[in-house]
Symmetry: C2
Subunit: 190 residues, 2 copies
Amino acid sequence: MTDSATASRPPKRERLVESARDLLYEQGVQRTTLAQIAERADVPVGNVYYYYKTRDELVHAVIESRLERIREVLGELDRRSSPKARLKALTSAWTDEGAQVAEHGCPLGGLVYELNKDHSPLSEEGAQLMRELVDWSERQFRELGRRDAATLAFSLISSIQGAALLTNTFHDESLFRREVRRLGRWIDSI
Amino acid sequence: MTDSATASRPPKRERLVESARDLLYEQGVQRTTLAQIAERADVPVGNVYYYYKTRDELVHAVIESRLERIREVLGELDRRSSPKARLKALTSAWTDEGAQVAEHGCPLGGLVYELNKDHSPLSEEGAQLMRELVDWSERQFRELGRRDAATLAFSLISSIQGAALLTNTFHDESLFRREVRRLGRWIDSI
DNA sequence: GTCTATATAGCGATAGAC
DNA sequence: GTCTATCGCTATATAGAC
């Protein structure tokens, strides 16, 4: 038994990233303290530094975790038969979390916004989250034979991100659903 | 001479709001300290509290300043002859600041994003910034005879906000210009 | 009204016992 | 590997001289 005392709980290192991921989303990067992260992960504060030497290193782990999740989701979407079906399935991925978007905004958009203000390598790592989405979308539009695929991809992800911001601002999930439905029709019309 | 020593400089209270407005935009709300605000305004730190009892009160003043400016700009746009011209002029207001958007994001969007995470009255005050833009846009679309004016207004402001986020993320002003041109054509097509 | 000096609290990070 | 205790710093905010 190399695991910790209480049987099958995920090891501390993993618990810390999960806790950080959730808190960074709910409260924002700047407002979240190591004490809060440690408390939710049920790890003593001082012990955090055994797993992550600095706060930034922990934030880095969260970005990596988000990046892996994005690639995982996009990989699943790639199994769908047509580019249009894939693009529409992407938008559905957001509406599935509509309630959380209304409460806390887009998990990716918020993170990226804050990292944009950061003068560290984290900023560029955050940008990669968006690049992944835009590039994947661009490939779909290109498969549809659009030469302006890059522009369309930028428009699509932009619209979703902006809709998430306003939805969060007005705390009204229905706004998000309506806008994403609109984007679905737009994709169909292409 | 009731003014300060160096003749015609704006009074300190005003200098503080201006300094705070700029720094909150450039660095974000959370990262900006009173010391930085005071320094840029050329006011001693301790003296800030003579003009604003708390930090939140100063942030409140910045929101009010932004709100006034929005109403001022929208008031000027109202002088244009057609709703379409007014809507397109609104989008131009953003591209005029394209370089800054690429560097720091949208001055309103960033502020609103951060205030959304705030558990204070400032959050609702921030929402009013967006409401002002959406409501004004909705009136224009309604004048165009659109019954889905509310939806279209939401889409327009969403797209601009999302485009600003991605433009800031990729630090490429041309992305913003291209997307706003696209929105201009969309307005024309309505 | 204006300024300096300082109180107070909370943060990230470290040292070292176990 | 795990934990407690605490350092050092910086932030907001206050007290009080001028």
